[in-house]
């Protein structure tokens, strides 16, 4: 088959699955937050499969609100796309696009499976995979800052400012926390990281990787603007933060991008620490069935980690802004440096099987 066609199929598949998971992770968030608060959450809209003559729809999965994402998307599209008179129109339009595009682009370098019919299940297997992912993911902050600034009002501006400071601080911890892994693996290529983990143990199994894992998880909460570090969009303080002035599909883009970033963060966590598509007792290579099984394993890990993200959000209260900065610069940064040192010692001492 034409390699370009294969690439196109992979791109469409990745984006499609990503947006599908995004839609349903929003539903999962609403359900889980409701359950944690002893409520029921959305439980009305199923997927309509047949419209009866009397106008009522026969629907499946209504008690789990499986049709809620469809309704939500429809609502977002049909709402009035209002642009306030005081905004800077060009940047106001640019903001949501700049948030959404990196959130999707990141997935180019994430291996979501081994091989299927001899085709590697990654869109672009570049040799600086993790650098590409971090570089593109950090572009998302431009969209938030632009959206906040172009809105030309107080709260969005504060949200944008908070966001820029927070993301720059935690980008550092995020980058430093994964260095020990690449010291052990010896390559920045993400497929190589997964291959290393199939040959040895998962990277989380080595005790000197626990500290980086904790720092990585906490930093990715901050990077994806999620509680306990959701200060850029703190509803109670900023009336929604950088997206206050946005409505309709533009708001939905911000919203979707946040969830896409969350899924990206959990995918990276799965790839870096939890063996990517690898699961013990599942053959590393084989026919189509094994290839599909690998993709399913990867998706299951991503969804499970995304659920942990949701679980944390509805448990931990938001930190104060100075606490956030103190945690980033005074705690995580030195700890990340120390963990690099420890990993180096482990490699020199020969504990790490690289």
């Amino acid at each position: 088959m034409d390699p370009i066609l294969i690439h196109l199929i992979k791109i469409v598949g990745v984006v499609g699955v990503l947006l599908f998971i995004c839609a349903y992770i929003v539903l999962a968030e609403r359900r889980i937050c409701a359950f944690i608060q002893d409520r029921l959450g959305p439980n009305r809209v199923g997927i309509p499969i047949w419209i009866r003559k009397d106008g009522r729809a026969i629907q499946i999965g209504a008690c789990w609100a499986l049709g809620q994402p469809i309704i939500d998307a429809l609502k977002a599209i049909l709402k009035e796309d209002f642009v306030p008179g005081h905004v800077n129109k060009f940047y106001f339009w640019l903001g949501p696009m700049l948030v959404m595009a990196p959130a999707l682009m990141v997935w180019a370098a994430i291996p979501f499976g081994s091989t299927l019919c001899g085709v590697p299940m990654i869109v672009a297997d570049i040799n600086v995979g993790i650098l590409f992912v971090f570089a593109i993911a950090s572009l998302g902050v431009y969209g938030i800052v632009l959206g906040g600034w172009a809105s030309n009002s107080k709260y969005p501006f504060l949200g944008g400012v908070r966001s820029s400071a927070q993301l720059i601080s935690y980008e550092l911890c995020l980058g430093l926390s994964v260095i020990p892994l690449f010291m052990q693996v010896g390559s920045l290529r993400l497929t190589e990281v997964v291959r290393w983990q199939t040959e040895h143990l998962w990277l989380i199994c080595y005790p000197w990787n626990w500290l980086p894992a904790i720092i990585y998880v906490a930093s990715s909460f901050a990077e994806t603007n999620r509680a306990p570090f959701d200060l850029p969009e703190a509803e109670q303080e900023l009336a929604g933060g950088y997206n206050t002035e946005y409505s309709s599909m533009k708001f939905a883009m911000f919203f979707l991008a946040e969830y896409a970033n969350m899924i990206t963060a959990s995918a990276l966590l799965a790839v870096l620490f939890l063996g990517g598509w690898h699961l013990p007792f599942v053959p590393v290579s084989g026919g189509i069935a094994v290839g599909i099984a690998h993709i399913c394993i990867f998706l299951a890990k991503v969804c499970a980690l995304a659920l942990v993200f949701i679980w944390v959000r509805w448990t931990v209260p938001r930190v104060r802004y100075d606490q956030l900065m103190g945690l980033g610069w005074k705690v995580f940064l030195p700890l990340a440096l120390v963990s690099i040192l420890i990993a180096g010692l482990a490699i020199v001492a020969g504990w790490s099987p690289s």
């Binding site: 889980i32 359950f35 944690i36 002893d38 409520r39 029921l40 679980w311 944390v312 448990t315």
Partner: protein, 166 residues
């Protein structure tokens, strides 16, 4: 008042144990009984004495207790009540009551559920009672006439029975 803040111990300063215990707590909440009432299918239990919408009542003998004195019409702040009095016919059992409402309408769009009508009524004929879901698809639907108000109100036992003693 000054509250001494104890410095956190190392264990507390780690935060992670506290976060994990918190997450265990929220996890246990996933399986607890939910407080949500699935409204149109499940109805809330209305306690006795609940002050819902104004309704008319009858006594045990089935007599409409309202004597069409029009005090409630007069006192009603939003002027939601409209009464058309009627004299009892000469051969009626309750001729001594003299008047009864021919028409008794409450505009439930205007009603503010203040309860002045119940308070002012000398005959204890109008009450704010159980029905709480006042809905309709048109303004006409929301004009509750005498029959509907009596049906909603039902019977209110009258221990005094003042009209039998007169």
């Amino acid at each position: 008042m000054r509250i001494e803040r104890k410095p956190l111990t190392i264990w507390e300063r780690l935060y992670l144990p506290a976060i994990i215990s918190g997450m265990m707590l929220t996890f246990s909440h996933l399986f607890r009984k939910k407080v949500t009432l699935r409204y149109p299918e499940q109805k809330p239990e209305i306690p006795p004495g609940y002050r819902g919408q104004p309704v008319l009542v009858k006594d045990e003998d089935g007599r409409v207790k309202c004597v069409a004195c029009q005090l409630c019409e007069f006192v009603c702040p939003p002027r939601a009540i409209r009464i058309k009095p009627m004299a009892y016919p000469d051969n009626a059992k309750y001729k001594k009551v003299e008047k009864t409402p021919d028409e008794f309408e409450i505009d439930m769009i205007r009603c503010i559920f203040c309860g002045y009508c119940e308070e002012v009524c000398p005959e204890q004929a109008i009450f704010l009672r159980g029905p709480y879901s006042v809905t309709g698809l048109s303004r006409k639907d929301m004009m509750f006439n005498k029959e509907k108000l009596l049906e909603l109100g039902g019977t209110m036992p009258d221990p005094i029975k003042k009209w039998q003693k007169k």
